[in-house]
Amino acid sequence: MQQVFSIPKSMKKGFRYTFCPGCDHGVAIRLVAELLDELNLQDKAICSTSIGCSVFLYDFLDVDCVEAPHGRACASATGVKRARPDKFVFTYQGDGDFASIGLAESMHTALRGECVSAVCINNTTYGMTGGQLGPTTIMGQVTTTSPYGRNKEYYGYPIRIAEQIALCDGTAYSARVALDTIPHINQAKQALKKAFEVQLQGLGFGFVEILSSCPTNWHMTPQEAHIRVKEEMMPVFPLGVYKDVTTEKGE
């Protein structure tokens, strides 16, 4: 028999995720690790890590990591890339980190067309602090700081990150994927691969927004949470490739 699945070698030996049961972070990190293996990037990768549930990334991924303050991962990644243009530089952030406190840094990194790759986990809430309203919380969603549901009067509207990043001229690739089904997981990996490759080709900013579940803070089973990703999140955050300079004519 042939081995068709093994733990990526870019994962730390003996790692054990500290995420809640059923959390999709684990899948997203595995996809990143598999691509670091497949594209042979582990020994030239430098990750700018973030704050939130993703904070422990350096305990899982076996690559050089520098911790950025909350929201500043793209700024820190910019610094790394400008200092070491030959390295593979990426961030792994939550939606609060990337699109709320760090929106300015994220968007300007895209606008500058920095050759870095950014991964943003969208789970419509602040997971680490216990499920508060975040930039991606959808209308009507109940969180600990929107106990009557998100309404426009008090909270305004959620941000569609992949679409916004696609509008930036420096962006080479921007896509939204999900992890609710196996086909979607496979697609997510292809999108991440593309976001990594545009960096390697020097084309600009590569970005993937990943719709993920947060069973704990959604008060759901992991199975129910994946149904919510499909039924409640996808209508608001449609999956798709919003920009890809490698397939655009004239690019």
Binding site: A45, V63, D64, E67
Partner: protein
């Protein structure tokens, strides 16, 4: 010219920028703010020619975090800013101190609080020395008083930052930044620092490295903070620097930092001509502060008058160093026109008359 022993007439801000280039600064990240904008302007012209990194950052917060990213890879990098915008950088400085990253930050001070204005001041002594960020940490702070020192201390800032893996602030002020003086660049006199044991360069042929300040393990975090402070004791032992003039026979020692040093030196001469035995003391490193030397001088019965453009920020440190062994007065104006030599002389006479009972504050 900018790397020889020839004297050039140059503005403080340009001097700092060119000295950074000479010191091997590979990346500059900045956001404009008066009175330091010329640093970024100068480097925007020079860095591309040298094939080095330059980013017009979207904010001061982004700028300093870009420095954090760049220096984590072992290269030299810096940002520059002024007072209220340096306030925005305090979070990253706290991280960098805990992460032991050699961040270099130039602060060309202006007036506060809040937006204040672009006239000069020295109100960032506390922000720099005690740290404006959260938690226990220490920053090395160098305060130049001439354009020549802007050059010399820029070299030293990059060296100390890497040598001790600690953030360094070069604390200049609007006066220095905007002033032209003859100065000589020479060569960066400091040796190269080996960063290979910790710099992030990709985990090729070695284990991966992570630089972070998250301290989930209480015991480790306690030890980490003790280690940071032990390191700073070594820095204090090796690097504390100051200048003193005619303190030997002095009855009163005028004390100032940064460009106010120029005025107390002149005031000292006037006072001496009037028969008052005045001396001068000037900390070069505001952090580590020369507590020991001030304490020694106080123990010899020498009184102090602290002259500064703030509400008595360094005064507190001098008072702490003196610890009741002698008397200390404060001569200050919070912001604006630098205290003149005449004002200082007059105030010293008043202070001596009034037995140091009150501070002399100018409006």
């Amino acid at each position: 010219m900018t790397d020889s022993n020839e004297k050039v007439l140059i503005k403080g801000n340009y001097a700092i920028a060119q000295a950074a280039i000479n010191a091997g600064c590979q990346c500059y990240f900045g956001y404009p703010i008066t009175p330091q904008t010329e640093i970024g302007e100068y480097l925007s012209a020079q860095m591309p020619k040298l094939g080095r990194g330059y980013v017009c950052a979207e904010s001061e917060i982004a700028a300093i975090n870009m420095v954090v990213g760049a220096v984590s890879t072992g290269v030299r990098a810096m940002t520059s800013s002024s007072s209220l915008a340096v306030a925005l950088m305090q979070e990253a400085l706290s991280y960098a101190a805990s992460d032991e990253l050699p961040v270099v930050l130039v602060n060309v001070m202006r007036a506060g609080p809040g937006l204040g204005y672009i006239y000069p001041a020295q109100g960032d002594y506390n922000q720099s020395v005690t740290g404006g960020g959260n938690g226990d940490y220490k920053i090395i702070v160098l305060a130049p008083s001439t354009v020549q020192e802007c050059i010399d201390y820029t070299y030293r800032a990059f060296y100390l930052a890497q040598k001790y893996r600690n953030p360094v602030i070069l604390l200049a002020d609007g006066l220095l930044g905007q002033m032209m003086e003859p100065a000589c660049f020479g060569k960066d006199p400091y040796p190269e620092v080996d960063v290979s044991s910790w710099a992030l360069t990709g985990a090729k042929g070695r284990e991966s490295r992570a630089i972070y300040s998250l301290g989930t393990d209480e015991k480790k975090q306690v030890q980490h903070i003790y280690n940071l402070f032990k390191k700073f004791e070594v820095i204090a032992e090796n690097e504390t620097s100051y200048e003193e003039f005619e303190t030997e026979d002095a009855d009163i020692i005028l004390t100032a930092f940064g460009s106010m040093t120029r005025n107390i030196k002149a005031a000292m001469k006037v006072l001496r001509n009037k028969g008052i035995k005045a001396g001068c003391f000037r900390p070069i490193t505001l952090s580590p502060f020369p507590y020991k030397r001030i304490s020694e001088l106080a123990a010899k019965g020498k009184d102090f008058a602290v002259v500064e453009m703030n509400m008595g920020q360094m005064f507190k440190d001098v008072k702490y160093a003196i610890d009741g062994k002698s008397r200390v007065g404060l001569i200050n104006r919070p912001v604006g026109e630098w205290l003149s030599v005449e004002e200082i002389v007059e105030a010293v006479e008043k202070i001596m008359e009034k037995s140091y009972a009150t501070s002399i504050q100018y409006s």
